[in-house]
Symmetry: C2
Subunit: 362 residues, 2 copies
Amino acid sequence: MRAPASITRIFVSLGATALLCAAAGMAGLAAGHAQTANAPILEVPARAVPVPTTVSPQMAKIIGLPLRANWNVLPKTGEEWKPVADAGAAATIKNIPAMTERLHVKVEKTVIDGVRAFIVTPDVIPPENRNRLLIHVHGGCYVLNPGEAGLPEALFMAGFGHFKVIAVDYRMPPEAYFPAALDDGITVYKNAIKSTSPKNIAIFGSSAGGALALEMILKARQDGLPMPGAIAPGTPMSDVTKVGDTFVTNAMLDNVLVSPDGFCDAGTKVYANGHDLKDPLLSPVYGDMQGFPPTILTSGTRDLLLSNTVRVHRKLRQAGVEAMLQVYEGQSHAQYYRDDTSPEAKEAFEEIAGFFDKHLGK
Amino acid sequence: MRAPASITRIFVSLGATALLCAAAGMAGLAAGHAQTANAPILEVPARAVPVPTTVSPQMAKIIGLPLRANWNVLPKTGEEWKPVADAGAAATIKNIPAMTERLHVKVEKTVIDGVRAFIVTPDVIPPENRNRLLIHVHGGCYVLNPGEAGLPEALFMAGFGHFKVIAVDYRMPPEAYFPAALDDGITVYKNAIKSTSPKNIAIFGSSAGGALALEMILKARQDGLPMPGAIAPGTPMSDVTKVGDTFVTNAMLDNVLVSPDGFCDAGTKVYANGHDLKDPLLSPVYGDMQGFPPTILTSGTRDLLLSNTVRVHRKLRQAGVEAMLQVYEGQSHAQYYRDDTSPEAKEAFEEIAGFFDKHLGK
């Protein structure tokens, strides 16, 4: 009985949308994959993908959104990114006051050794967290979410986890290029360890922020700094060379990043500014992970960066690092911090908070 | 430069294979998903999926295999399944002698309180494992892998983990139907706890075996039996009602199970023999997981049962159970125990062994 509707949908898809999408977004998807004349290629047919019933109503709404508008508009310079970033930021910032209220946190703007930052403080900090501090590095492909627009994930963490958070508003193009974001993160960390034991500090962030959390550990080790007590890289951009299976398998399915040939990759290239994308300070999956602090990783089954996430997980475990993976049903890239009223958001950040509680000093 | 080849491939796919596959395998894929007249449906275009470069050469070979032959041949009775199971078993059993040699284990056939089983003993058992015992319940959709054909995963675990394993050769259709497999598992467990402390016992298995490991815990609790020290359900058939996002998103991509409308689902229906598929003793994701022993779950990014796996992981964590998830790059259903010479197999079972070592009594 279901078959006719389903098949019709597939044919419609083949006739119109799919061809357009394929032409626009699938070219070059095979980059970084084994492709010789004889290499086996699996032909996967078009499909009509409904919203799963296995998620909350709030998450169903997020999963049911169409592909991100302008995912294939690719600014080529820092100057071209600026108005895109500003427009996106304005939309995000509107939601911040209500979000801080719902999450019972307050936000203060500050400057730490020359780096712009925000102090996010929950109304109630339990005794075990009073000498603990989290450092947040926001996502946005190294070009998006300036200023308060970088705050949502920090608010979720402070609100659900009841930790004090310093959110780093690191420099981005066109103000500065690689390794400016990383340098700003390290500056804040260096300042923090003057007054808080590094073992009581955790670093977290998602997407570019997930990569930055990993990059900060690589850089801290290079610079001879002590390790923090734990890190939580969410769906990290751990490989920006487009290598990883889900870049292909979840393309055009992840409604946030959409395709490895989309805006996020373009933004990273602008930030890298000609620097080798395979440098572990841009693609940390290629870094040596021996001696990393305990790490919790978060992703979703539709995440374009699911491979980026599980590859880091495996590499950490191979290096003997305590590492936990959480993968959420049906979620595309970083959707666990899209709606603070979704039970999935509360769950993801409470899980991270529990991991921090287990591994941080008091 | 890459675009033309890629696009050509997509068009070829749209013109031939995709339409056939779509008609044959995609009908009804939307089962169990939110589908009202207005529910958003994402149209995902056809794609040409190469083998990722991020896996070992052995795993690349496995990932590069075409879709399982006869995945859409659906026997309807236990009697119809028998010759299919026997043919598959004959092919698998050929490989057992070389496998036991490479893995340095020996196998003895036995009967435990009327249940057929095998004792798998590694050549060397380290002192910490001498009072420990693992119970294996094999996969195969409750209808496949009779006799020695159910052994490979038990051999991997014994060989890589250096534990003694009892592999349960539980009854299957047409010999017996639900709950025969579960009953046989419980019989062996009851016998084992007479001579070994339950805290020193772990239960493991993949696919139907992963579901059985979970079902045995539900049943043991119902029967007032003590809990084992740990379990390792690999890519469990935790929901046989076709609910779960990756049933759709990984359909025709997973080259083992291929589609929720394929052979595996058909086999389970025959085993269930009219019993409600939503019963937690057939779909354990619907069971109460309070008080479950520490659990390690294994899956892959292309696994049709990735959602089945991560939903169990989240449900365990929500119940406060220590639960670890490992997800392997590019792997379809249960490919971590396909080739004992692949580094991914060694890694997956050593990870499980480490988890057992951490949680089992000595």
